[in-house]
Amino acid sequence: MLALCALVALGGACKKKGPSPNENVGEQGIGEENLGGGSGSLDRARQGLAPGEGGPLQDVHFDYDSDDLDETARGVLDQNLQWLRDNPRVRAELEGHCDSRGTIEYNVALGARRAKAVKDYLTGQGLAGERLSTISYGKELPLCQEETEECWARNRRVHSVVGGQ
């Protein structure tokens, strides 16, 4: 019986639900969406907003397939560092992002390295590590979708989300 249900379920007509921790409301049921709090890029996407860019802490940009911090990036991070010192109760989440080239899983791993590189730089300058957290979204939450050098460069970044004041 459930086997038949599975086939029907593929067409969206089977409403039998299992003990999901995530109450799975189907298309024909009541739509319920977590519009969340928070201002991270995934929180924003859940609210239908574009990923965050800039803010009190500036975005840091990278070369293709690289997590190296160049001179420009270090200059930006020095300004971010000063802002964090001036606002000692603020915590920041460092989001790693990538351009659209390369596969999804690889880019999540690459974004994690970018976020870690930024965290290491800031803590290396004396910032307390517990004020910083990291997450990578790979190429899943791009600022722009065009397949151009300009857009790729914009998406290769670590974006800092402030909170926890």
Binding site: A6, L10, V25, N34, T103, I104, E105, Y106, A109, E140
Partner: protein, 431 residues
């Protein structure tokens, strides 16, 4: 009884006859080269079910690259009245419209059971083809799977290798909204059907070998972890430990272990987990990126992507532990490997300029050949027959799923334009 074995009650009986041998040999006939003109006549009886069977079978045979399916509008007979046995078929009439092969049969429905009898006829020989006759029984909802089963059998008869169409493809897609969920696609569907409702990002779907579950990574609780969705109930349970971050995982061919990509403090490595999600072994321990593990069919080795040489390349390694052996020798960016279920070939995506293309090589990296050229193509996954691959392609605009044979001679679009269909994972054959 539960689970994905949708045809658990379907009966398949080989119909005996005094047929001719298959007229086609693989040597003169491959996907994308010489295509065989075939007429698929809706089986006589229940007209709606007969049409559905013919539609699904036609698409499968078209996708296989071995056939040119004749337009039913050119048929000169009424399928509901014309004969379905060799002595009653107007072979001269079928030859006149260019058919060299002909599928005919009957389909009867009653009391919830559908009974289908079909055969493949060779028009020139005026007889049915050896081992092409089948009686299939199941429910009305089983008719698409009966068509897939029969398509797979026709490929077995004509090429010596059973077809892959009675199977499923898991993928991630944004077809339902802004964010990616896990979807499933079968070859009779117009568009993929949604399995999860994560309100988050999901990545790297992978089948449990019994096809009852799809493992995937989700950002539902902020940092990505592994979850598994039950295909029948759509219930989602957490698979990996709370305190760890995972970018994806794949079940071993015997369903007892999982190879997973663990991310820890910015570094990614490959771990071996037991069936309950506990770490049993750390397989790689390197400062570079190690991602996208895929099992060899023997369950003793795996292939993965690592940037340990300074650029992302493809490596194989023993589950028991060994030095990784690099198998990709050309290209500066090679990623998302997949090991053929036959064991002999590995496919991956390689960067060429600003696009990625699918490469197929020997399991040791020998004789690599690029099998795609249009758009950007990545995340290849092998069909259960080791003859076809599915991958995500940007040709035609957004990301859609495409199918190619391992030589790249036939390339067919599977999912319609307008989606963002990524990370396809082809299941084993359904039971």
């Amino acid at each position: 009884m539960r689970g994905p074995s949708l045809l658990a009650t379907m009966l398949i009986v080989a119909l005996s006859a005094l047929p001719v041998r298959a007229v086609v040999s693989v040597s003169i006939f491959g996907p994308g080269s010489q295509q065989f003109p075939i007429a698929i006549v809706p089986p006589k009886g229940d007209a709606a079910l007969g049409q559905e069977f013919a539609r699904v079978l036609s698409r499968d045979l078209e996708l296989s690259g071995y056939f040119r399916v004749l337009d039913p509008r050119t048929f000169t007979e009424d399928p509901q009245t014309a004969g379905v046995t060799a002595d009653a078929i107007d072979f001269a009439g079928w030859a006149a419209i260019g058919a060299q092969q002909l599928v005919k049969g009957t389909i009867e429905s009653g009391a919830g059971t559908v009974t289908l009898e079909v055969r493949l006829f060779d028009v020139a020989e005026r007889r049915d083809v050896a081992d092409s006759g089948r009686r299939l029984q199941g429910s009305r909802a089983d008719v698409p799977r009966m068509a897939h089963r029969y398509a797979d059998q026709l490929l077995a008869v004509l090429t010596g290798e059973r077809g892959p169409f009675d199977s499923k493809i898991a993928l991630t897609s944004t077809r339902g909204g802004r964010l990616k969920d896990v979807y499933v696609y079968t070859f009779d569907m117009a568009t993929p059907a949604r399995l999860t409702n994560e309100h988050s990002i999901t990545i790297a779907p992978a089948w449990r070998p019994d096809q009852r579950g799809v493992l995937f990574a989700s950002y539902r609780e902020h940092l990505p972890r592994l979850f598994e969705v039950d295909v029948a109930s759509r219930a989602v349970v957490q698979f990996s430990n709370d305190s760890k971050t995972y970018l994806g995982g794949v079940w071993s061919p015997d369903g007892t272990q999982v190879l997973a990509t663990r991310e820890d403090d910015g570094n990614s490595d490959i771990e071996l987990l037991d069936r309950w999600g506990n770490v049993t072994k750390r397989l790689t321990d390197h400062w570079a990126i190690d991602v996208s593990p895929a099992w060899a069919p023997d369950g003793q080795r795996f292939v993965f992507c690592s940037s340990r040489s300074g650029s992302p390349q493809i490596y194989t390694m023993a589950i028991g532990g060994s030095e990784p052996v690099r198998v990709s020798r050309i290209g500066t960016f090679n990623t998302s490997p997949a090991w053929s279920p036959k064991g002999d070939l590995i496919a991956w995506a390689t960067r060429t300029g600003n696009t990625f293309q699918i490469v197929v090589a020997g399991a040791d990296g020998s004789h690599p050949r690029t099998i795609t050229g249009a758009g950007s193509n990545d995340d290849p996954s092998w069909a259960p027959d080791g003859r076809y691959l599915v991958f995500s392609s940007s040709r035609g605009g957004g990301r859609t799923l495409w199918l190619a044979d391992r030589d790249g001679r036939t390339q067919k679009q599977l999912t319609p334009d307008g989606g963002d269909d990524t990370s396809p994972a082809w299941s084993s054959r359904s039971e």
